[in-house]
Amino acid sequence: MRFERREHRPLYLLIVAPVLAVIAALALSGILIAIAGAPVLDAYWRILTGAFGSRLSATETLTRATPLMLTGLAAAVAFRARLWNIGAEGQFYLGAIAVAAASAKVLGDLPAPILIPLLLLVGAIAGMVLILIPLWLRLRFSVDEVVTSLLMNFVALLFVSMLIDGVLKDPLAFGWPQSQSISDHAMLPKLIARSRLHIGLVIAVALAVIVHLMQSRTVFGLQSRAAGLNPSGAVFAGVPLGKTLMKVACLSGGLAGLAGAIEVMGVKGYVTTDLSPGFGYAGIVVAMLANLNPLGVVLAAIFTATMFVGADGMSRGLGIPTYIADVTVALSLLTMLIALFFTQYRIRR
C-alpha cells in the first residue's frame, strides 16, 4: 500500500472530507463517553439541545462563536502566509484593554455612531502593535516568531493585569481587579433583544467574507499566498517579502485585537484577566479545522462553540465532565488533518 498524490482535488471531497472528519471525531469521543458510563447518543443529543435547543442557548452559542471567528481569521490569514502568529491571545487582551482605556480616559463622551467605530479601530491597532514586535525580530534577526509571539501573550496578560489593578482599576468593583466599565453608549447594539447576542457576529461574518475576497481577488492576497507557499519563488517573481509579511501581520494582529474589542463592547463592558477562556489559542484550532479558509472559519467557530456550550448541558444532565468538549474539538482537529491529507493523496495498492 502506498500513497499517491491526487492530480485533481475533486470539489465534493473538499465538502465531504470535513463532514466525515467531524463524524469520526464524534464517534471516537463517543467511546470516551461510553467509558464514562453515559449513553452516547443521549449525550450528543444533550449537547445539541444544550447549544441550540432554545432561543437563549442558540444566541449564547453564537455569542461564543463570535470572538472565535475573529481569532480564527487572525490565525488563518497569518498561517496562509506562513507567518506563525501564536500570539492572538495577547493581541486579544491588548485590543480589549485599549478599548477600555480609550473609552474611560479619552473618547468616552463622543456620540455612539462615532465612538463605536473609533473604539473598534483602537482595538485593532492595539493588536497590530503587539504583533509588530515578533515580526520585527523575525525580519531583522530571523528570530522564530512562534516563540516570540507566544511569549508576548504572557507579557500582554501581565500588562493588562497591571493596568486593571492600577490606573484603569474600577473603584466601584469592591477591590476586584477589573477595569473601569466602558460607557453605556459604547456598547455594541444587540442583534436580538433580551439576549447577549450583539452585532459583533455580523461584523465577524462580514470580515470573513472580506478576507476571503481579499485573498482570492487582490494583488495583496495573491502575493501573500505566494510568499507563504514558496518564499524563494515569490522573491523571484518580485513579491516584496518583508512588506507583504508586514501587511499580513497587521491584518492578523488587527483581527485578534478586534476580537478583544468586540468581546468587551459586545458582552462584558469591562476587562478582567479571565475575559478570554483561551479564545486566542482556540482560534488556531478553528483556523486549522477550517483548513485556513476564511469562510470555513465561520463554520468551524460555530462548531467549536457548539461543543463548548453544549457540553455544559450534557454535563449537568448526565454527570460527565465538560472536558469531553475539549477532547472532541481536539480529536476533530486530528481527524480533520487526516481528512485533508486524503483530499491530496489517494491510497494505491
Partner: protein
Amino acid sequence: MTVPVLEIQGVSKRFGTNLANDDISITLAKGEIVALLGENGAGKTTLMSVLFGHYMPDAGRILIDGMELPQGKPRAAIRAGVGMVHQHFSLASNLTVLENVMTGTEKLWSWRSGTSAARKKLLAISERFGLKVDPDARLGDLSVGEQQRVEILKALYNDARILILDEPTAVLTNIEAEKLFTTLKEMARQGLSLIFISHKLDEVMTAADRIIVLRSGKVVAERRASETSKAELAELMVGRRVTRPVREPSAPGTVALEAADITVKINGVERLKSISFRLREGEILGIIGVSGNGQAALAHLLSGTLSRTSGTLLLFGEPIGNLGVADVVSADIGRIPEDRNEEGVIGEMAIWENAVLERISSPAFSRSGLVNRKAGIAFAKEIIGQFDVRGGSPASRARLLSGGNMQKLILGRNLHQRPRILIAAQPARGLDEGAVAAVHARLLEARRQGTAILLISEDLDEVIALADRIQAIVGGRLSPPVEAEVAEARRLGLMMAGEWHEAWKADHAI
C-alpha cells in the same frame, strides 16, 4: 606483482534511466595518489559512494587487499580501512575536535568514555602527518580548511589506509589547497593510498601520480601525471566531437546588455569577480562552467534578485543602477530561473496565477489592487496554446505539470511578449529529450526575432548547439569570449578549467 590495496571491478550503477557508472574498473596501489577527473555528472561521486557503501552497485565488486567488501555497508568499509572525506563535512559544529573525531567510534552501551586514550591517539596521528589542530577547539570556531583537517583526522583515527576525498579543494583557498596536497603527499609517502575527486586540471597534474578520466559514467582514459598535459586532459574530459547543428547565421544587432567590471559580494564572499561581457541583440551568448562557479550569482544579478557591489551595467547603452525584479520585468528582460520548482513556479498556485505573478502590478492584470482574473486566465490560455503546455488548465495547480511542461509555461510567460533580453539559466536541465528540443527551438526562434539571449548552462552540448559566442565562468571570473565557430573540445575544456592562457595558446598553435 603485489596485490593492489583497492580494486574496483566492473561496477555499474543505474538511477532510473541514467547509467551513472558503466562497468568501471580501477586499481589503487599502496602509497599511490590517484585523481578521478571528470565534469559534473561524470559519475565520480557515485563511484566513491558505491565504494564507501552508501549505494548498492547494480553489478561489480570491490576488493580490498584481495578480499571482497560486502556491499552497501559503510561500517564494513570503515572496518576494512576505507575513510571518506566528504565535500560537505559530516561533522557537528557544536562539538569539540576531539569529540567529533571520537563520535561513532565508542560503544553505545559503555558507561565511560575513553577520552584520554583517544586524545593520545589523535595527537599521535596529527603529529605523524603534520595535521595540526587543537583537540579542544569547538569545531564551529575553526576555518573551513581546519574543519577539513578534522574530517581527515577522523578518517585516520578510524585506521583508514585508503582515503577518499570528494572535491577536497572546492571549499579551500589556494594556499589551503597547497597545504592540503603537501599533507596528502606525506600521507602517501607513509604508505597510505589516496583517491581524490576533482575537475581542476591544475591540481590533478601537481598532486596525483595517476589520473583516471571519467566521462558519462565510463573510464575513458588513464594517464600517468608525468606523461600527460593539461591540454590532453581537457580534451579527454570534455571529449565529445564538437558538432554544431546547421543554423542560420546570427545577425547580431546593437549591444543590448553590457557588463563592465561587475563584482558581487554575498556575506563578504566575492561570488563574481569583476566580470565583463557584451550581449547583442539577435545572438546567444553561452556561459559555460562547472556548477558552483558563480553561475547562480550571475543569473540572480541579471534577474533582479541580487545587487552588485561594484561595476557598471549598461542597458542599450544607458547606465542603470541596481535593478529590482519589477524593473527587470518592465525593462522587457525575460528570466528563466535555474531551479524551476524552487523559483520558477509556486507549485500550489494555479497555472494562471503563476503566469501573471511577476507582472501582477501591470494594468493589464490588476487595477487598484484588484486582480483581473479574466485577463490572467486568458493570458494563461494563450501561453498554453502557443507554447503547447500539456497536462493542465489555467485553473489547475502548476505542480501537476511535468518538468518539460512547467518549463514551457515559464518560457511562455517570458517569450510571449517578445522580450528584448532573455536570461536563461540551465533552461533544459533535467528535461527529457523531447522537451529539451522544444525549449531549444523556442530559444532559437527568439534569437531569430532579435532577442538577446544569455544562456548560462553546465551542459556543454547545449551551449555548443545554441550559442554564437562562448565565455567560461570559473571561480567567479569570466573568460574572454570565443566565437562558437572556432570552439573545439580541447579549448573549451581548458576554458572551463580556468586555463585561459593555455586556451589561447592552443588557438595560436592551430
